[in-house]
């Protein structure tokens, strides 16, 4: 697949650069909302919606936003969409709203959204940014659902809130608790690392150029890049 084709951009986020399992972004909502498949899917879809919209708007405005104030501008745009999504969820899926609680509002500071704005949307066209948002959002949702399925089935003997009676005496509650989330998360990262062996981006690909902290970073390597 050609590196700049639309399909490549779309599928990039699903496995090769999966935001949760390869880029290790958005760890906080991942661990917090994966005790239940329903909550995890809701979180994924809400983030997906915000990500597509914010990526498109930021890509549209990428030539207008001055470089020195870009982060506050991104935050304002993202916060606007998060508020819309929050109100919609509150109105139409109140059960999900109750379940996600503060984590719904905290999508504003989700690293994936800011990270994609900085790394992708601020440099690419509107169409590609929308596809990137879609791919990354689906990747996020799939990763969350995978973690949540393991945690809920093994730890609570239920799936999306529906009890599985024959697993009830065999449940291992450790997995719905925070340390269990860390363990499942780590195992899935290892699994994806194995599946994408040699194909996922190496650490050196993330140089200072794409780094959101470049403008205020004090590392010597960063300064060199800025001078260039």
């Amino acid at each position: 697949m050609k590196k700049n084709s639309s399909l490549y951009v779309l599928f990039n986020g699903i496995l090769r650069e999966n935001p949760v399992l390869v880029l290790i972004l958005g760890t906080c909502p991942t661990l917090a909302t994966t005790t239940n498949v329903f909550g995890a899917f809701g979180m994924g879809v809400a983030t997906l919606a915000v990500l597509i919209c914010s990526n498109m708007i930021i890509s549209l405005l990428r030539k207008i936003i001055p470089d020195s104030v870009r982060i506050p501008c991104y935050i304002v745009i993202i916060a606007g969409f998060v508020t819309v999504v929050q109100m919609l969820v509150h109105a139409f899926v109140p059960a999900l709203y109750e379940m996600l609680g503060v984590y719904l509002a905290l999508i504003v500071v989700n690293c994936i959204i800011l990270g994609r704005a900085e790394m992708f949307a601020s440099k690419n066209s509107v169409g590609k940014s929308a596809l990137d948002g879609l791919g990354m959002g689906i990747g996020f949702t799939l990763a969350l659902c995978a973690i949540a399925t393991i945690r809920e089935v093994v730890g609570a003997a239920s799936f999306a809130g529906i009890a599985i009676p024959f697993l009830e005496p065999l449940k291992i509650e450790f997995f719905v608790k925070a340390p269990g989330g860390m363990v499942v998360y780590g195992l899935l990262i290892a699994l994806v690392g194995r599946l994408t062996k040699g194909k996922s981006p190496k650490k050196k690909d993330f140089t200072c150029v794409g780094c959101p902290g470049m403008s205020f970073c004090t590392k010597s390597t960063c300064n060199v890049k800025k001078e260039v």
Partner: protein, 308 residues
């Protein structure tokens, strides 16, 4: 390069004759009295639990090493010690499948994933005990001794929390509720004396650990009898003697060990007194395991003539 790190003094070196397997064999011998006491007090099911835990640990270690093509360490008895310790830390009425899950967790996720023997961050047996405690309700319902007529289901720690002091004879002989190997103080102290005599462990961690729990309990309870009962009950002795002294996860220097023992004692006391769980020994040891690298750095020997 890495080999330089292992040389702690100039050659020639004398080999002590000890090996991992010989040390682990001594630990198993030291645990034998507690295992036998567990079988006598709680019935023959104790032996089944011990067999299942040891077998699961050794089998998991063997297959993990085969799958990841690593040096085969299943035969060095370290996995067997982990399994034995897990067995001694569970109540006699625990379902067998929970023993298997806990043992597999200890060996695969706590030990092997971090690089096998010598590379684990925390003690596998202690972590498995905590894993099982937060996972299974059966860990909280303690089995009652088979050889005496006891109907009340309270462990000594629960009795003390309720204002009673359990009889000293019961605590020493282990005829109280609790995990398989933790109740019989006499058997555990026998094991401690054996380990000291064979120079497998030094006295620092167990003595400082137990003494700090004793002193803090005395200061807070104001009664020598209650303080002594608190020291003899729960998992304190087995934890202090066999699990806090794990070479890999405790500091090597004498002062480091004293600091480790005191920290674990303080945390045990605080969790017992103010925490939601009745027993804090395992959490205290786990926490000090994590602090061990920092304690080591703090107490490392200054090399004579070395540059700072």
């Amino acid at each position: 390069m890495e080999n330089n790190m292992l040389h702690i003094s100039a050659s020639p070196h004398i080999h002590s004759g000890k090996s991992t397997a010989s040390i682990m064999r001594d630990v198993i011998i030291a645990l034998a009295p507690a295992s036998i006491a567990g079988a006598v007090i709680f019935g023959l099911r104790a032996l089944l639990i011990i067999a299942v835990c040891v077998a699961t640990c050794v089998v998991c270690e063997y297959f993990y090493n085969v799958i990841v093509k690593r040096y085969q360490s299943a035969g060095d008895l370290s996995a067997a010690v982990t399994g034995l310790l897990i067995a001694l830390n569970v109540p006699a009425n625990i379902p067998i499948w929970q023993c298997i899950v806990g043992s597999a967790f200890a060996i695969i996720l706590v030990k092997c994933v971090f690089g096998g023997i010598g590379c684990n961050l925390v003690n596998p047996a202690i972590t498995a005990r905590i894993f099982m405690l937060v996972s299974f309700g059966s860990m909280a319902t303690q089995a009652m001794p088979k050889i005496v007529d006891v109907t009340a289901g309270a462990t000594p720690l629960e009795l003390i929390a309720g204002g009673e002091t359990p009889a000293m004879k019961d605590l020493l002989l282990g005829t109280t509720g609790g995990a398989l190997g933790e109740t019989c103080a006499v058997a555990l102290i026998l094991g401690f004396i054996y380990l000291l005599a064979r120079r497998i462990i030094t006295w620092h961690i167990p003595v400082v650990f137990v003494a700090s729990v004793f002193v803090l309990s005395y200061l807070s309870e104001g009664s020598l009898e209650t303080a002594l009962a608190l020291v003899l009950s729960g998992g304190l002795l087995i934890g202090a003697i066999f699990m806090a002294t794990d070479y890999v996860t405790s500091p090597p220097t004498a002062w480091g060990k004293v600091l480790f023992g005191f920290g674990a004692g303080l945390l045990t006391f605080l969790i017992r007194k103010y925490g939601v769980y009745p027993e804090g020994v395992s959490f205290a040891i786990l926490f000090m395991n994590i602090l061990t690298p920092y304690i080591e750095r703090l107490t490392s020997h200054k090399i004579f003539g070395g540059v700072k």
